[in-house]
Each structure stands twice: as C-alpha cells, then as structure tokens.
C-alpha cells in the first residue's frame, strides 16, 4: 500500500510540477490542483497507512490501533485552504486575462 | 455489534454474493459497452446498466448484509438508489441534448435535423 501511495504521490507531483512550469495560466491552475492532491496525500500518508481503522471511537476498539487522526485533521484544513486558494487563483487569472488580453502567465504572447 | 462474517448464515452470504456480483458484472458490461459502442448516442445507453442494476444489485447486497449482520433493519442504502435514479438522468439528458446541438451545429448528417444554423465551436 505504501508503495502504491508513494508512487501515486510521485506521479502527481511530477505532473503538477511540469504544469506549474508551463506558460499558460490554466495549466498552472491545473498543476496547482494536482500538487495539492499530492501534498494532501503526502500529509495523510505521514501518519502511516492503515486500512479500515477510521479514527472513530466505538466501544470495542482499542484507540491505539486506530489510524492517526492528526494528519487527517491537518489534511482537512489543507483541503479547505487549497479550495480557497484555487478559487482565488482562478479569479485572478480571469482578471489578468481580462486586463492583459491573453492567458500567458507573464501577460504576453511568447514566440516559442 | 457487527456479526463476524464467519457467523453469517449461508443463505445470506450467498444472496449477498449473488447480488453483489450480478451488479458488478452488469456494471462492467455496461462500461465495456461504453468503451466499445461506435457512436456517442449508442454509448449513452451503456452506463445506465451501472446506474440501474449495478446500483440496485449492490444496494440489495448491502441491505441484506447489514440487516443480517447487525440484526437490525438497515435500509438506508435505498437512499443511494433513489438519488442515483433521480439525479443521473439529469446529466444524461443535458449531455445528450448538448451533444445533439454540437452535432447539428457541425452539420453531422447522422442526427435528425431541425436545421439549426451552422457554425463550429468546440469548447473542448
């Protein structure tokens, strides 16, 4: 499981990094989204990978065997903040496109 | 509170397995059809296998499983069934109509015409 998860994180990071280095604003926003998925999974994975041990207390489970709730709480916060910033970046890229007339991150049409 | 699965009565286990697999297999067939059917309008039909029987079978399996397992009447899965049944058509309808519009706009001869003005746009 760890192997799969870490490979998945790696692939998403790679794609995200590639995208944020691209010149189009839309590519950047997709890249940021992918990166935040990767980072969320990373934080999540840091607590160790446990299947079917959700940190929800019930009478018959030993608390210590449950999954680590702290990374989950952190990821939850990170998701929310990621959502907010994605929305913001989106609007900024729209505004920038409106003002500069193109969707290049530097506001110019580049002759590649 | 949950019955260990080894203590399940055999009939229940078999019923769960049958419904589950039936649903799963129909879903799979549906997606295979979705992959293989040649035109969009034909492909539109395939996933409904999953939304109808796939969901249904799985729901039933789950209801049986949990009802037997907890020895209480647990049927809240039915909600999933209801919602899927009610909401999926919206997507399909809207999408089919959109596809129709796009095909017509492109002048595709395969689709029934109500001659709309031609012009091309692919927001894709």
């Amino acid at each position: 499981m760890e192997l799969i998860l870490s490979l998945a994180i790696g692939v998403m990071t790679g794609c995200g990094v590639w995208l944020i280095l691209r010149p189009r604003t839309y590519q950047v926003i997709v890249g940021l989204s992918l990166l935040s998925y990767a980072v969320n999974l990373f934080i999540f994975g840091v607590g160790g990978v446990k299947s079917n041990m959700p940190p929800i207390l019930a009478g018959d489970v030993l608390p210590a065997t449950l999954a680590d709730p702290v990374p989950q709480a952190l990821v939850l916060t990170a998701i929310v903040i990621g959502f907010a910033t994605t929305a913001l970046f989106l609007v900024v890229l729209l505004a920038s496109r409106g003002l500069t007339g193109n969707d290049h991150v530097d506001g110019r049409e580049e002759q590649r | 509170m949950m019955l260990p699965i080894s203590d399940f009565p055999l009939w229940a286990a078999i019923a769960v397995a049958i419904f589950l697999l039936l649903g799963a297999i129909l879903t799979l067939i549906g997606t295979i059809g979705f992959l293989r059917l040649p035109s969009f309008y034909e492909r539109l039909h395939a996933p409904t296998l999953g939304t109808s029987w796939g969901v249904g079978g799985t729901m039933v399996a789950s209801i049986i499983f949990f009802t037997v397992g907890t020895e209480r009447f647990i049927i809240h899965e039915i909600l999933i069934g209801i919602f899927v049944t009610v909401t999926t058509p919206i997507t399909f309808m809207l999408l089919a109509r959109a596809a129709l519009h796009r095909d017509r706009a492109e002048g595709d001869q395969q689709v029934p015409h109500k001659i709309e003005v031609s012009g091309t746009r692919d927001p894709n």
């Binding site: - | 129909l26 067939i29 549906g30 295979i32 059809g33 293989r36 059917l37 040649p38 035109s39 309008y41 034909e42 539109l44 039909h45 395939a46 409904t48 296998l49 939304t51 109808s52 029987w53 249904g56 049927i75 809240h76 039915i78 909600l79 049944t85 009610v86 999926t88 058509p89 399909f92 309808m93 089919a96 109509r97 129709l100 689709v111 029934p112």
Partner: protein
Amino acid sequence: MLPFPILTFCLMMMWMLLNGFTLGHLILGSLVGFAAGWALASLRPEKPRLKKWYLLPKLAAIVVVDIFRSNFSVARLIVMGKKRPNSSGFILLPVQTENPFALAVLAVILTSTPGSAWLEYDSRNKTVLLHVLDLIDRDEWVAMIKNRYEVLLLEIFE
C-alpha cells in the same frame, strides 16, 4: 403552514433512515423536514397535483420490471459486440402531457431504462426525441411507451 406535506414526510423518513428510528429523531426529522419544505416553498415551484397517487406503486413496479428486462437485453447486445446488427436509431415521440412532473418522471424512467435515452423535448411540437439502442420497429416503441407509461402518468398527474 405545511407547504409540501408529502415532501416533509419523505424528508422525515429520510432523516430517520439516516439516523435511526427513534422518537427523538422523529421530532428532529419532522422539524428539519418542515424547515426544508419551507425552503422549497421559497423557490415557488409549481405544485404537483397528484390525482391518483395510488397508481404510483403500479408504475414503479412496471418500471422495475422493465429495467430488469432491458438490462439484460442491453447486456446481451454489448456482449455480442460486433456481431449484433446495427439497429440503433432515433424516434420522435409525441407526448400529450405538458405537466413538467409527468415529463420529469417519464424522463427518469426512459433514461434509467437501458436501451432508451431522452435527447430533446420540444415544447412547441410537444415531442420528445429519443434514441433507442435496439430499434426494430419505431411504432412499436412509441406505442409501448404510450401505453405502458404515459397513460399511467396522465392518470396520476392530470
């Protein structure tokens, strides 16, 4: 006071399905259902008039059976793959009702049933464009839909 009693009841049922059937949740569910009913009222939707609501189970039963059947037929078609005759096609289905609820239910039924898909409704001509996967006889399809569903729907909603 209670804009949508049936809805409120359904929401209460939903609440209890989710939370469990206790007295507390009955009260809570009713409150929530009541509030949600008012929320819907603020949208000012057309009120459905259910004339013969007792026919609904009959419709449901028919639909379940149809879905069951068509599931297998479509599955068969898919499994057959290339060997099957290319028999799909479009049908223009004239509908009598203009009641949006009846149309909605019809749409749900037709879309949920594998093998038929609702493409377009034309309010001027009162027609629905359908796409059918296994179209052997257009008229038979039209007749089937009219007889099996529309008649019932007209009875329920008009």
